[in-house]
Amino acid sequence: MVGNTRGAPDPRRIRRLKSPRALEVEAGADGVPLRLRLGGAWHDVSLVRHPWRIDQNWWRGEPMSRMYYRIAPTDGPPLTVYCDLASGEWFRQEY
């Protein structure tokens, strides 16, 4: 009996560095994050840098639109988050 050599590769062998991780964020009407959930608790945040937008791959038919924010929770180190403008979901990412 021969094993299936075309099976899915083991994801442990190769993985992306700086993969985004889903995050719960509450944003204001202007889209700027106001609160985020870290370690099960909600924290107020403030912007520490002007937001920046990235639009990529629109020429490939798989457009990617993200609005990045560098924010700092009231009692924690700053972090980078982005909002996927297509789905409205928030992610945390090392930039």
């Binding site: 009996m1 021969v2 094993g3 299936n4 099976g7 899915a8 083991d10 442990r12 062998r13 190769i14 993985r15 992306r16 560095l17 700086k18 993969s19 985004p20 889903a22 990235i54 990529q56 990617m64 979901e89 990412q93 090392e94 930039y95």
Partner: protein, 393 residues
């Protein structure tokens, strides 16, 4: 992919009852007698009294005062489960070990070898019973979740869900079965949704608007679509020998002498190869299992050296009781390699790193050391710049 899910419910309890059938008559709790005093597993009768895994033994006894508490025996559980996995490896080479008592096997195309999938499921049931003597549930379907659900609903000979019939099969089952966050199940119930069929009747958009990311997966699972790949355990060659004593023996010298005898028996099976890992298992006079696992920095083939490593390890922490039987397993087999000495420090460091990587790979089954490779370092999208590649050494 046709997948069979093999489940031995309440595995630690089943093994404890098999060892002492008298335990079957009373509610049973398998829990640590010492720290951290938590319930590892409980019998169905104890569960009916409110005992749950993870609660403290004190709480469990409050719910079920007549329960018998048995200390866990991880060595015995692991040994039993390994023998079951080895037997399943005879059915299909792709076996995924999920946890004790739960495994998935890839059975695509095997139905024709057994005159149909029903016969194949029955063959898997018989294989596990012959290897362990334990009762088993087997479900066979397309995808992991439908196979899991089929096993839960299976009879003694297993249950087969025909390809394409997953959605209809899952429809009447309780939403509790869905392998998703408990919070999602809780919210589905708040909406008055009790069966998987009711979830399947909703649209992807409706579920995504409620549960975000997880909504799509909930919809797919409810419709019997589970594309999660099978992750087979690596096939590893190992050689093993065991011996029993007429009367329980104690003392490092006696155990090392017995281990030397086992090593000499294994010499033929080794065929000149060296072993990177050595595991000494014993059945203690108390009936409990004991194990010492040693991962060596480099593969070793000489019996004397293996015995020396074993003696050093046993002197630090000998078995806590007299030993009734002993078993020695050598794995991580490799041909012996010569060492080219280098004048440069860099070459030596590189070799040390490679050696350490191989050692970690044997210990964990994969290499936890990665090297970073630039893919598109100029990209504005962070995750496209670099990847981590497992270091194979």
């Amino acid at each position: 992919m046709r997948i069979a899910f093999v489940s031995i419910p309440r595995f630690p309890c089943a093994v404890a009852v098999q060892r002492d059938p008298a335990l079957a008559r009373r509610p049973l709790i398998v829990g640590d007698a010492e720290q951290p005093k938590r319930v590892l597993d409980c019998s169905a009768s104890a569960s009916a009294e409110g005992v749950r895994r993870g609660m403290t033994v004190r709480q469990a006894l409050g719910s079920c005062p007549e329960a018998v508490i048995v200390p866990p025996d991880p060595v015995l559980y692991r040994g039993k489960w390994e023998s079951i996995l080895d037997a399943l490896g005879g059915v299909s080479p792709e076996v995924e070990y999920e946890e004790l008592g739960r495994a998935y096997i890839n059975v695509s195309g095997l139905g024709s070898h057994c005159r149909g999938e029903e016969a194949l499921a029955a063959h898997v049931v018989e294989t596990v019973r012959a290897a362990s003597g334990l009762d088993v549930c087997v479900g066979l379907a397309n995808g992991k979740f439908p196979a899991f659900a089929a096993a839960i609903a299976s009879s003694r000979s297993g249950l087969v869900v025909p390809a394409g019939g997953e959605g209809a099969f899952l429809s009447p089952l309780d939403v509790e079965l869905l392998p998703v966050e408990p919070e999602i199940i809780f919210r589905l119930r708040l909406f008055g949704i009790e069966t998987i069929g009711e979830v399947a009747a909703l649209s992807v958009q409706e579920l995504q608007s409620q549960f975000g990311f997880a909504g799509k997966r909930v919809w797919q699972l409810a419709n019997g679509i589970d594309a999660e790949p099978l992750r087979p355990r690596p096939l590893e060659e190992k050689v093993e020998a065991s011996l029993g004593f007429e009367a329980p023996v104690a003392g490092v010298d006696v155990i090392v002498a017995a281990a030397k005898q086992l090593l000499s028996r294994l010499r033929l099976s080794l065929r000149g190869r060296a072993a990177r890992e050595m595991a000494l298992q014993a059945e203690l006079a108390t009936g409990r299992g004991w194990e010492r696992r040693i991962v060596m920095r480099e593969a070793v083939s000489e019996s004397e050296r293996l015995a020396f490593v074993l003696r050093s390890s046993l002197q630090n922490a000998p078995p806590p009781n007299a030993v009734r039987s002993l078993s020695l397993r050598l794995s991580g087999l490799a041909g012996e390699t010569g060492k080219q000495l280098s004048l440069g420090k860099r070459g030596r460091l590189q070799r040390q790193l490679e050696e350490a990587t191989r050692q970690l790979k044997v210990r964990y089954g994969y290499s936890p050391i990665y090297h970073c490779v630039d893919v598109e370092p100029w990209s504005v999208i962070p995750e496209e710049r670099q990847i981590l590649v497992e270091s194979d050494a």
